[in-house]
Every structure is written in structure tokens, then in C-alpha cells.
Amino acid sequence: EPPPLEQKERYKVGFSQMESNNPWRIAETKSFHDTAESCNWDLIATDAAGSAAKQVADVDSMIAQGIDVLFLPPREEKPLIPAVMKAQAAGIPTFLVDRSVDPNVAKAGEHYVSFLGSDFVDQGKRVAEWVIENFEGDKGIIVELEGTTGSSPANDRKSGFDDRILQDDRFEIVASQTGDFARDLGRQVMETLLQAHPDVNIVYAHNDEMAIGAIQALELAGRKPGEDVMVVSIDGTRDALQAIIDGKMGVTVESSPFFGPLACEVMKKYAAGEEIPPWVKVEDRIFTAENAADHIDEAY
């Protein structure tokens, strides 16, 4: 059983961010800061600068400071298990946010309260399904731009997409290389892969930043993204929605960083003694040419 949470006027809340080197993470941190005011939190936010070990040390220092509740987006599935265990031992209920930990070792409802977030595998799968549905040619030649090598969203978004798309034998993945979730690298890698595989007609990027980079690479090479090459990705950033509106991109599956309000709500329920499901699934929307214009104002 995870430790209970007493009902109080004000909570001392720990939020251990893993890194701040991309807009998504920054938006997520900001969402927690914004929620702190509306939800009456004293928020301690730390940043692990991309190191799982430091993230554990950060959680440690928050435990030492006596937080009431911990929100943790674990940088890695396994290395953050000690953080979850230590928080539990210190009587601090933990909610995992946006990524989870290894379910074989730490379990929701036991070591931590619940996981709030989307399913990366599912995100990849949904992109694949959209492609299968909307691709009109005979042969889909796919270039995949992966996230940071070895990171869990990269691994999951790859397996989700690859498994689903390869069930349809119209499609072939001719190259899959890392763009490190960054626009500049996404562009450079795309430029190169485009030279080696000029017949490519589908680009799947693990996040919108790389997708935008790929669009630039295509345009620089005189190709027409959206017309002769279909670009698809995940996240739902403002730039991606704009690209969809401009007809350069096909789809982006939402992976919203705005966890603050959800966190506040779930925490209050938990304090009130309500049952919390082990996985509070975030319903990821899917943005296409039909609805992009309606949502661009709320995007980050």
C-alpha cells in the first residue's frame, strides 16, 4: 500500500523534473508551477539535467526536506525505482508522471499511487494506423527519425510504430536513425538519409521538433512535404499544428505536457480517500488537417 495523504490546506509538493533541454519538458515544468498557485502547493521543483542518478539524488534531497507528496517523471524505467522505494519508505505518496517505472519491480497501488500519463507504444501505434489509413500510394518507403538512443520514449515509439506498420506489407522502413529529439539534428539526418534514399515518401519522427527539421530538409532539397512526402509525428506542438494547417505535415498524436491540473485533481482525490486507478490514462488527441486549426491556440 502506498502511504496515505492527509487532507490539508497547503501541501509541500515535490516535482523532480528530469531535464529541461526541450520545449516539452519546459512546458511540463511550467504547468506544475502554474498549478502550484491554483492548487495551494509549496512546490519544490528540481532538475536532473538528464541524469537518472541525479534525479534520484534530487528526490533524496526532497525527501530530506519533508515533502508531503512527490510527482516524478522518471527519466528511466529501472534506475528511478530506488527513488520510488525511498519515498515510500519515508511515508511520501508518489505519483509517476508521463513516464513509468519497471512494473516488474515497482507496482502502482503498492509502491507508488498511480501513473499519470500516456502510452508511448500506443502513440507510435496510432501514428502507424493513421498512416495505413491515409497513405494512398502502392509502396510506402519510410524513414524513421528516432529520439535519443536508448531513451524509453524512443524505444517505445519505435516499437509501437514499427510493429503496427510492418503488419501491412505495403510499407518498408528503409532507414531509422537518431535525431536526438532535436530539430537541428533531425534536419541534418534527414538531409543525409534523403540523399541515400531519394525514393522515400513517408517520414515518421518520434517528436515534432525532428519532424519540423525533416520538413526543412525536404524543402531545402526541393521536395514537397505533404505532397510527395508524408510527414507524421508525435507531440502536438504549435509548430507542428501550423505545419499541418499549411499542409506540410499529415498528423501528430498529442502527447500533452500539461500535467499540472491533472496532478492537482488526482492528488486531492487521493487525499480524500478515493480509489485511484493504477494508470490514470491521459487521452491523447490526434491532430490532423481537420482539427489542427481549432487547437493551435492552446498548443505550446
Binding site: 533541454n21 526541450n22 537518431t178 521538433e209 531545402l220
Partner: protein, 318 residues
């Protein structure tokens, strides 16, 4: 004659490595012999080459500059702030000029900071530039509040996407920078003094060389060139991401300089060697990527190639 062979190999190691790489690519990489391949490689190598030229000068004084990537981030973060400002909207030409000049000036100031630490306070270069390496990117993010800045600004984007005589603008820029610094190193007093300071600082001082000013100068130059590279990255991407611009650039630039024949203990500044080094590193990346080598294997391959290239370059000395 064995001595002759070894010597030629050492002397032209870089060119030989380049030739080998080209041959390998022609043989195995699909669609290698195309103009577009050339464009892609020129546009990608430009920033490394520009930074490597500055790095070469720093290394020639027996220093090192870890802060180049951070300086790129600062300059790259500043530019859009300026041309997206109200002022620049009102006066587009002035705004564009300011968005190029001001970031470069700020970069030069960063270099001045490094240079003063090294030359006047006697801080060891790796540590002096580590300070900015750690905090520079933070400053860039503070400037932009951590936000990604995206824009459409054809004028500014020319830096990254323009073409002159059919070749990318930044390629010409590299050529211009290399020629200017080659001239400075080989023909001017300042260049000679850089080499003297790196070769024997005491002797340089005793012959009237303003050692501290010379040293400060190379850090300023290195930072200025990094600033230019930062602007190019932002221009190509039509976006400025302070967290990412120039990430790991210091390693590429140092590797380029060394592969190009620069001695880490100072006293040599082969400018075109550094450009050649950058081209080799770029081509290695291209080869591995285009042939679908997995990222982790590519890392190992890169490691092996760097060791080999430097081994051939350094030759065997008694």
C-alpha cells in the same frame, strides 16, 4: 624508402584519409556522386569548420576552448530576440543588421571573458572555458526563458539557406574565413605571435610579444567565430533552441583541429588543415548515417577513425 613513405603519409595524412573516405563512399553509398550530396555536406560542415578555425588558433597558443558550443547558443538565442522585437519590426533593415552584429559582439565579449581569465588571471584554459561551458547555455536559456523561438525571416535565413553561384552561402563563408585566418597566421605579425606564444611563451615575452593580449585575442576570435556559427544554425532551422544549439560542438571542433594537424601543445596553426579535418569528420558522419549504421555502432566506428587519423597525422617521432 620507408622513411619517405612514412613522411608523406604523415604530411598528407589528412588528404589521404579524405581520398579513402571519398572512394569508400563512391563504392558503397547510394547516390553519392550528386550535386545535392555536395550541398548537404557543405551546409552541414560549415559550422564545424568555422568553429574549428577558431579552435585551431586557441590550440596554437597551447590553450583549449570548451565554451564554443555555449557561445553559439548565446548568439543563436539573441538573434531572434532582436529581429522579432518591436524595434526590428519597425526598422527591418536596421533590425536585421542588429540581429547579426549584436550577437557577434556579445560572443566577442564572452571570448574576452575567457581570454582575461586565461591570460590575465592565469586560470588554466580548460577550466576557464569550462565556466562558460556550464553557464553559457544557461544564460542563453535565461534570455529566452527556455522557450524555443521559431520564426520566418527570409532575410536572416539567408545565412543558412542562401546560395551564391549555386553553392551554399555558408560554404563561401567558410572559405572566406579560412583564407582570412590563413593570411593572418602566415603573413601578419599577430599570426606569428600566436605561434610564438604557443611555441615558447617565455621566449615570446622576451622578444617583446604582448603575450597576454595575444592570448586574449585568440579566445575572442574563437568566440566570435562560434557566434557566427550559432547564427548559421539558427538561420538554417528558422528556430532557435538555446538548449541545443552547438551541443557537443567543442568535441567536433577539437577533433577537426587535431585531425587537421594541430598540435595540442601549441605552436602550430594549420588553418586549412582544420577545415580538412572538419570535412573528414563530417564525411565520416555522413557515411555512417547514409549507410544505415546504427547509432551505437557509429559511435564506436567514429572512435576508431579518430584514433587512426590522429595516429597517422602525428607520425612517429624519436
Amino acid at each position: 624508402m620507408a622513411g619517405f613513405d612514412a613522411k608523406t603519409l604523415t604530411k598528407h595524412g589528412g588528404l589521404i584519409a579524405l581520398a579513402v573516405l571519398l572512394l569508400i563512399n563512391i563504392a558503397i553509398t547510394p547516390n553519392f556522386l550528386q550535386m545535392q550530396t555536395l550541398f548537404v555536406n557543405i551546409s552541414q560542415v560549415a559550422t564545424i569548420a568555422i568553429v574549428a578555425v577558431g579552435m585551431t588558433l586557441v590550440i596554437a597558443t597551447a590553450g583549449i576552448d570548451l565554451s564554443v558550443g555555449a557561445v553559439m547558443a548565446v548568439a543563436g538565442a539573441l538573434a531572434p530576440l532582436i529581429f522579432l522585437s518591436d524595434f526590428a519590426q519597425a526598422y527591418p533593415t536596421l533590425g536585421l543588421a542588429a540581429s547579426i552584429i549584436v550577437p557577434i559582439l556579445v560572443a566577442l565579449l564572452c571570448g574576452l571573458f575567457n581570454g582575461v581569465l586565461v591570460a590575465y588571471l592565469g586560470v588554466q584554459p580548460i577550466i576557464a572555458t569550462l565556466i562558460f561551458f556550464i553557464s553559457g547555455r544557461g544564460i542563453a536559456q535565461v534570455l529566452t526563458n527556455g522557450n524555443l523561438q521559431t520564426f520566418t525571416h527570409p532575410g536572416f535565413s539567408y545565412l543558412g539557406t542562401g546560395k551564391i553561384l549555386g553553392l551554399p552561402f555558408q560554404g563561401w563563408l567558410v572559405l572566406l574565413i579560412a583564407i582570412v585566418f590563413w593570411y593572418i597566421v602566415n603573413r601578419t605579425m599577430y599570426g606569428r605571435r600566436i605561434l610564438a606564444v604557443g611555441g615558447n611563451e617565455n621566449a615570446a615575452r622576451l622578444t617583446g610579444t604582448p603575450v597576454r593580449r595575444v592570448k586574449t585575442g585568440v579566445y575572442v576570435i574563437s568566440a566570435g567565430l562560434s557566434g557566427i556559427a550559432g547564427l548559421i544554425v539558427v538561420a538554417i532551422n528558422s528556430a532557435s533552441d538555446a538548449a541545443r544549439i552547438g551541443n557537443l560542438m567543442e568535441l567536433d571542433a577539437i577533433a577537426s583541429a587535431v585531425v587537421g594537424g594541430t598540435l595540442l601543445m601549441g605552436g602550430k596553426a594549420p588553418i586549412f588543415g582544420a577545415v580538412l579535418g572538419a570535412v573528414i569528420i563530417q564525411l565520416v558522419k555522413y557515411t555512417l548515417l547514409a549507410n544505415g549504421v546504427a547509432d551505437e555502432v557509429a559511435l564506436i566506428a567514429k572512435a576508431g577513425i579518430i584514433v587512426l587519423a590522429v595516429y597517422v597525422q602525428q607520425g612517429r617521432k624519436e
